[in-house]
Each structure stands twice: as C-alpha cells, then as structure tokens.
C-alpha cells in the first residue's frame, strides 16, 4: 500500500527540503521504493540538495502538462538504491500545478509500485503548499524551536486537518512533529523553546529531534543528503526518524545538554 507523506512547515527555511532529502534517502536505504517530489515550482531546491541539478531534463510541470512521461522526468539516485527524484520547474510558477495533474502523477507513481511518495512542500499556505499536502496520508511537520515557526506550524496543521483530501473524505492525516535545529545547550540556558514546550503547544506526537549541526550546510553544499554522512549527529538523528516512522521504538538522542567539562576533566577524560 503506497503512502503519500508531505513534509511541510508553514514557515520557510526550517529544514523541509533537508528533511525530505534525508527522510526519502533513509526510507529507500531500508529497501522501500521511494519517490521524492519537489513542489516548490519556481524556487526549486530539492535537486540541489540531492546533488542531481545537472541531471534535470524534464520536471514535475512537464509531466502534468503531458510534455514528458513520468519515467522521463524521474531521476534515479546514484547513491541509494530504490530512490527517485521528481524535480520542480524553475522557470514556471505554482499556478502551473493543478489538482488533477498532481493527482494523476501521484496515481502513476503508485501504479509503478512506489511504497512511499514524499512531497517536499514549499513554505507558506498558498497554492504550492496546498497542493503538496492535499493528497497526503501522513504529514511531517518540520518546526524550529522558535516562536514564529511554532505558530506557522500550528496554522499548517489546521489547514491539513480541514482542507486536505483526507479531511474531505472523513479521514485524518497522521501527524508527526519533527523538531529541527535544536540546541540543547540553549534550551538549558533558557534561550530556546524546549521540545516539551513545542509538543505541548502543538499537541502532535514527536517523531524526532534533529540537532543544530554544521554538517547540514556541508551536506547541502556537496549535494549529499545529510543522512548519508556517518559522522553527523544530524544524519544519525534522521536515521532514528526513519526507524521510528517505520514502527521501531528508538529513544531520542542529541537532546540533552553536554556536561560542561572542566579543564582537568578534558585532559584526563
């Protein structure tokens, strides 16, 4: 049974594309045929983050308009088996997306045997974001531990539960909260919202906490999803997220502030 998962947030710049790339790669690495679609028509980023920007011939809008087949547009990832990327158009805008067009692409992916279809949503609550969430069975709400991000996540949750196709058909979209750019030290200092605060405000089950990490920038620059970086705490946290999504019971990591080591302790361990 194929599942459509939207990665959305409302707020911009919180880590939707980074998370979509990591999450889709993680699912594929576990043996599931996975497609990740960039819904940010006109401001596409997914192809960059996944390192396939020089292999884009046809895009999502071409497929919707019948200018190419889905197979011609899908880009097969060279590092991870079972992973396919459907890039967005850079020259057109979100008006090019239609419900019928998006539905037909998603249905074709399902018929092609894809287990998971990850929809990387653009920021905002307008057409692009709406199209990305409309056909979702499950949703990952990416939130930074910061007040405006939390408020915007709340807004997109409301839209998800009232205007998605599932909502119209009386089903609920399963919600998962993914906190990104978390800094346990700053939480302990009282500067940053804690994960408990965020869960309390949003009332959505937590699927994971991704720590703030320099490795994320390195990953974007090199075009390798951060989950493929074995040294990165963020990458490891994404691996945990994929595990939890697939039903494993994995405790949270990277959420406690490190003990401040004194000089001698640092010397002698």
């Amino acid at each position: 049974m194929s599942k459509v998962i939207v990665v959305t947030s409302g707020k911009g710049g919180v880590g939707k594309t980074t998370s979509s790339a990591a999450f889709a790669s993680g699912l594929a690495a576990k043996g599931h045929k996975t497609a990740v679609i960039d819904f940010d028509v006109g401001l596409r980023n997914l192809d960059l983050i996944m390192g396939v920007e020089r292999r884009v011939v046809y895009d999502f809008v071409n497929v919707i308009n019948g200018e190419s087949t889905l197979k011609q547009a899908l880009i097969k990832d060279k590092r991870v088996e079972n992973l396919f990327i459907l890039p967005a158009s850079q020259t057109r805008d979100k008006e090019a997306l239609t419900k019928e067009g998006v539905e037909s692409v998603i249905n074709e992916l399902k018929e092609d045997g894809f287990d998971f279809i990850v929809c990387d949503s653009p920021a905002g609550i307008e057409k692009g974001a709406f199209m990305a969430l409309y056909f979702a069975d499950e949703a990952i709400i990416v939130t930074n531990p910061e007040v405006s991000s939390v408020r915007d996540s709340d807004r997109i949750l409301g839209i998800l539960q009232s205007r998605s196709k599932a909502a119209k058909e009386g089903r609920t979209v399963k919600e998962h909260l993914l906190i990104t750019r978390y800094s346990p030290d700053r939480v302990e200092d009282g500067d940053m919202l804690s994960m408990d605060d965020i869960v309390e405000i949003l009332s959505v089950p937590l699927i994971g906490v991704i720590p703030e990490s320099d490795t994320v920038l390195q990953a974007s620059n090199s075009g390798n999803p951060v989950i493929l970086d074995n040294e990165s705490p963020a990458g490891k946290a994404y691996i945990d997220v994929v595990g939890r999504f697939l039903g494993e019971d994995i405790p949270l990591r990277f959420t406690k502030a490190e003990e401040k080591k004194g000089f001698f302790k640092k010397l002698f361990g």
Binding site: D154, I159, Q161, S203
Partner: protein
C-alpha cells in the same frame, strides 16, 4: 429525501388586543433590548387571550388589522410563521390569504364578551403582549410562558475533539461550545452560549455572541488573547488577574468581565 419529526423551539406572540400601533411599539422595545438575538427569529401569533370588541370590528376590519400586524411584524425583522387560536370567524379568510394556521391548543377560546373584557383590561396592570418561547404543543392543555432574556439554548453543546488550530474559527450557533483539547494562538472560538475548553485556551474567545449576558467561559489554562462575553471585551494583557496559565472561569457582571479561579 427523509421526512422526520422534530421538536424545536418557537417564539409565540400572545395577543391580548389587536391594537397594531401598541403592539408595534412594545415589540420594537423588546427587540431593541437584544436586536441581534431577535433578528429574523420565527414567531407565531397566538390569539387565545385575544379580546375583541365585536361591536366595533367587522370581519373585514379585523382582517385588515391582522394584515397590518403582519406587516408590522415583518418590518421589525421577525419572521412570521403562522397563527393559532385565531377567532373562528377569521379562520377561512386568513387561510385563503396565505396565513399558516397552526394547531389550536388553548383551553380557553377567545372571549366574545366585550364588557367583561373591557373591565378586565382596565383593571389589570400588565396588559402587554408577551413574547415567550415554548415547545410547539400537541394538545397540551397547559402553556407556560417563559420570559425570554436571550437565554435560549436549545441545542446540545457543539463538541470539538481536536485542537483548534491557528487561523481556524469555530462558531457554535444556538448552543454552548465544548473543546476537548487546546485552542491555539491565532484561533477564534465563538458560541451563542458558554464556552468550555478542556485544555489551554489561547487565541480569541467570544461567548454569548448574540447577546446572552449569562454566558460564561471556562478553561484549564487561561492564555487567551482576547476575551469577549455578549459584546463586552477585554485583552488578557490589560486584565488585572493572576490566573494567567491557570484554570479559570469568566463571567459578565454588569459591564465588567470577572475572572475567577475554577473551583
């Protein structure tokens, strides 16, 4: 298509006289107390207590008066649904000109004794026409008239079992509102009756929207941005209360919103 029987509340205008001007004035006063509540409410005319001066009014005169009354009621913004316990002589005429005749239910038929009626009229203090709300009767001998003060809550509470998210608006028309989760900052919850939130109350909360001054607001954690009861509002920031973040109950006392701890 499904044909179902239902109970619903009706507003009944009990006539003692057919003095259209007097009725218009009294009805207007009543309406102006709570104009939003009375806007377009369905109303039926009950003539059980109507005292007619037969010597003065012929049938066609009477009909003219009823027509004027119909016009006056419509002008004031009420929706006239029908008439009941009408004088027997009027029935056919009313029926033929499109009036809806509701089932009669009065024990006492309209009195035709003029002198006695006049005497009664002079002696009694309150010979005003009364608006009441009561369930439509099915052969009930006794009618109770309840003075309406905009307190009518005739539907079960609207129950919301999911968080009310930022940007969402919930309006419980004609009833209380119960939310079984929290309401978010940037949301609006409104009800004609009271509002009960079994969780944190953030965002805006408006109770007694149509003028019900006895509506209350209950919550487990008071963090609302704006609190309104029957049109009187207050920003939480400007409230002198130490109950922020605590279980609270808010009601209207005169023009002031009183915030108290939930017992």
């Amino acid at each position: 298509m499904i044909l179902k029987g239902e109970m619903s509340m009706l507003n009944v205008l009990h006539l003692q006289t057919i003095d259209v001007d007097k009725i218009y004035t009294e009805l207007k006063m009543k309406r102006d107390v709570s104009p939003q509540f009375f806007m377009r409410i369905p109303i039926i005319i009950d003539c059980a207590g109507l005292v007619l001066d037969d010597t003065k009014n012929t049938i066609s005169d009477l009909f003219g008066l009823f027509s004027s009354l119909k016009k006056a009621i419509h002008e004031l913004g009420f929706t006239l649904i029908g008439i009941r316990n009408q004088p027997e002589s009027m029935k056919k005429l009313l029926l033929n000109s499109g009036w809806t005749i509701m089932p009669n239910n009065a024990k006492v038929k309209p009195s035709k004794s003029v002198n006695k009626a006049n005497q009664e009229q002079k002696n009694s203090k309150e010979k005003q026409n009364v608006i009441s709300t009561e369930p439509p009767t099915k052969g009930e001998p006794e009618q109770k008239t309840i003075e309406s003060t905009g307190k009518i809550i005739n539907k079960p509470s609207l129950m919301i079992d999911r968080p009310v998210r930022s940007g969402q608006q919930i309006y419980a028309a004609g009833s209380d509102l119960t939310v079984l989760s929290a309401t978010s900052a940037g949301s609006e919850v409104m009800a004609d009756g009271s509002i009960h939130v079994y969780g944190a109350l953030r965002g805006r909360v408006l109770a007694g929207v149509k003028g019900n001054e006895s509506a209350r607001i209950f919550c487990q954690s008071l963090q609302a941005e704006l609190i309104v009861i029957a049109g009187r509002y207050q920003l939480l920031d400007e409230s002198d209360t130490n109950l922020i973040g605590k279980p609270a109950m808010i009601h209207l006392n005169g023009e002031k919103l009183i915030i108290e701890p939930l017992a």
